[in-house]
């Protein structure tokens, strides 16, 4: 069935902690629970997210899309992009 040719996309999550207002949307709605709340706070006192499970990120971009403060961007991991199937 060509299973060995199917490669899954992985992603890298980039966070700008200083912009975060601690709403928690990204943490809550990530389908793979990749993000978690940091114990640290930014200058405004908000707990920003950190990438708790980097290997689980599938570059779905939901965190980037749902963030109200434009804190997050996601890049798909090029090495692991699907080869021709």
């Amino acid at each position: 069935m060509g299973q060995d040719k199917v490669k899954s996309v992985r992603g890298q999550v980039h966070i700008m902690p200083e912009r975060c207002k601690g709403c928690g949307f990204c943490i809550q709605f990530c389908p793979n629970q990749v993000l978690a709340e940091s114990d640290e706070t930014n200058q405004k006192g908000y707990h920003f997210p950190y990438v708790a499970k980097p290997d689980e990120c599938i570059a779905c971009n939901l965190c980037e899309a749902i963030c109200p403060d434009f804190v997050i961007s996601v890049t798909a991991d090029k090495d692991k992009e699907a080869a021709s199937v």
């Binding site: 996309v9 912009r19 928690g24 570059a59 749902i66 963030c67 109200p68 403060d69 798909a76």
Partner: protein, 281 residues
């Protein structure tokens, strides 16, 4: 990932020099803005021909954050302003982004007439069930029994169901999503902008500081979870059947998507044809 096509990023359409925006932690407006910027890119509409018009209120501030020709006008009057803009320059793609109070209370008359005319503009109506900017007063969308600063004992007026109102008035495209439904909301914005005629997308969105706090949902997350747990997707639902009761089911989806001649189509047909062929009527 079509990374070649999407060379413009959502961030590049944001007025960075005006960040951070004024919206509260947990407010859904940033998410709606995010979706709108992504929708602009996905729509492939020429950016220089976009015009964003807003009214007064928290949602109204959206116009000031997008890097497009944008107009922050008077309370309730974004729609007639947008009408003038579109009629003077039909090449413009005009989007009104405003709140439930602005569009359906003080602006209600303009909302129904523009829908009646099937004016070729797109409306993004962010509904947070109250007047947030001024401290959380009751709105024509506030569910019965909900508390607001001007309904301290519980709202005792039945609310409008905005899809019902707009569909009845003649809107050609009527959809509702919540701020949690980022992908569907983005897609709805694209469809609405591309569709000729009066397109209306209602987005139910958290207002933690005002509506939320007064109604035991004091965080944006609490409200987003409520949307997740209580939204039911029903494309094609009868717009008369999608009222939202206090903490009740939120029916979301695309309710109306019909073909109707636009204001300009009819004008051309009935008036313009009488005069010279180049008349924009």
């Amino acid at each position: 990932m079509n990374q070649k096509k999407n060379e413009i990023s959502a961030l590049s359409l944001l007025r960075e020099e005006r960040m951070p925006h004024i919206w509260c932690p947990g407010c859904g407006l940033g998410t709606v803005l995010n979706a709108f910027l992504n929708a602009l890119i996905k729509s492939e509409l020429p950016l220089e021909k976009m015009a964003v018009v807003s009214g007064i209120g928290c949602t109204g501030r959206t116009a000031g954050y997008v890097k497009l020709d944008s107009f922050h006008t008077t309370h309730g009057r974004a729609i007639p302003f947008a009408t003038g803009l579109k009629l003077a320059n039909p090449e413009l793609n005009v989007v009104v982004v405003s709140g439930d109070g602005d569009l359906a209370s003080i602006g209600g008359n303009h909302l129904i007439h523009a829908a009646r005319r099937n004016m070729d503009i797109t409306i993004i109506c962010v509904n947070n069930f109250n007047y947030g900017m001024t401290g959380g007063q009751v709105a024509p969308t506030t569910p019965l029994t909900a508390r607001t600063s001007t309904s301290p004992y519980g709202c005792s007026e039945p609310p409008f169901s905005l899809p019902s109102l707009v569909a009845a008035a003649g809107g050609a495209y009527v959809a509702r999503w919540t701020a949690m439904h980022v992908r569907q909301m983005t897609k709805a914005f694209v469809e609405a902008m591309l569709k000729p005629g009066f397109s209306f997308v209602e987005v139910i969105s958290p207002c933690p500081t005002q509506y939320g706090r007064k109604n035991q949902q004091a965080t944006g997350l609490a409200q987003m979870n409520y949307y997740r747990d209580n939204s039911v997707i029903k494309h094609g639902a009868d717009p008369q059947d999608v009222s939202i009761e206090f903490n009740g089911t939120i029916t979301v989806g695309k309710f109306v998507d019909i073909e109707r001649p636009t204001f300009s189509d009819l004008r051309e047909e009935i008036v313009g044809a009488k005069f010279n062929p180049e008349s924009k009527a």
